[in-house]
Symmetry: C2
């Protein structure tokens, strides 16, 4: 295992563990529980679920792995705060998106070699990347992992 492989394993161990933890929590909730607020006046579980799907979907173009698969979620779950848009996908629909996305992301991620994870992501220029090599694809996973942990902390409160 060379040093790039070691680092990729470290970051993906975090990512996969957090994803699994969210998944377990999600599967323990009924659709009614997802309608509850995490704390009085705060985001509902269903909003957090949609928000995570939308944020993870946006990684695809950033990682040069294709277009978004759920572009319609951006306006509802990233641009808008919870309870400002009345027509949102149902818990059942979002659960299906979550499950399909889990498989699809894993499949796409597995195609990249350790060295490719250290290549630049699509929102940094080659010129800037030469000076700032930490703006690589793996850093996208690292930052999204801590974003996921942040919301998992809140999601757990629905229990």
């Amino acid at each position: 295992m060379n040093s790039n492989q070691t680092m990729v394993k470290m970051v993906f161990d975090r990512w996969n563990s957090l994803l699994k933890s969210f998944d377990t929590t999600l599967n323990s909730f009924t659709d009614e529980q997802l309608e509850k607020e995490t704390a009085p006046g705060k985001n509902r579980g269903i909003y957090l679920l949609g928000h995570l799907i939308a944020v993870h979907d946006a990684m695809l173009p950033l990682l040069d792995l294709g277009s978004k698969q759920y572009p319609e979620l951006h306006k509802i779950f990233i641009e808008s705060t919870d309870k400002t848009i009345s027509e949102i996908p149902s818990a059942k629909e979002l659960r299906a998106f979550w499950n399909a996305q889990k498989e699809s992301l894993t499949e796409k991620f597995n195609k990249l070699s350790a060295d490719e994870w250290f290549e630049k992501h699509t929102s940094v220029s080659a010129e800037d990347f030469a000076k700032e090599p930490y703006r690589n694809k793996l850093n996208i996973i690292l930052t999204r992992a801590s974003h996921l942990a942040y919301h998992q902390g809140q999601f757990m409160l629905l229990k």
Copy 2:
């Protein structure tokens, strides 16, 4: 910047950003706000603060950077759940510990070179580390960063 330096920067950028974010939130709260529960029946802000100090303190022996500085917090904030021990340090005391720890950890962390962050931590044997090189010191920071993000998500709900 060699590849180990790049990885150390990636992980510490996360760690420092999360620490700063928690710090900003903490400073925006009054001591009375810290006494509130993050959600009905869940951990109080003051418990989360003590818990993070105790968890971060436990990194010191794990990273071979000396003994714990607040060993008395382990029983209260790691072994015990919130509201099961009546005598706990005050918000004022915990804020002082938090601030002192922030400086102390940064000072100790800055002494390690990028290559040293990829050496084994103290709870893995040399034999196991040869097969599992991802059980290094940097991985301790990586996992504690996502732990911090998880609780920061909850701490924010006190607002």
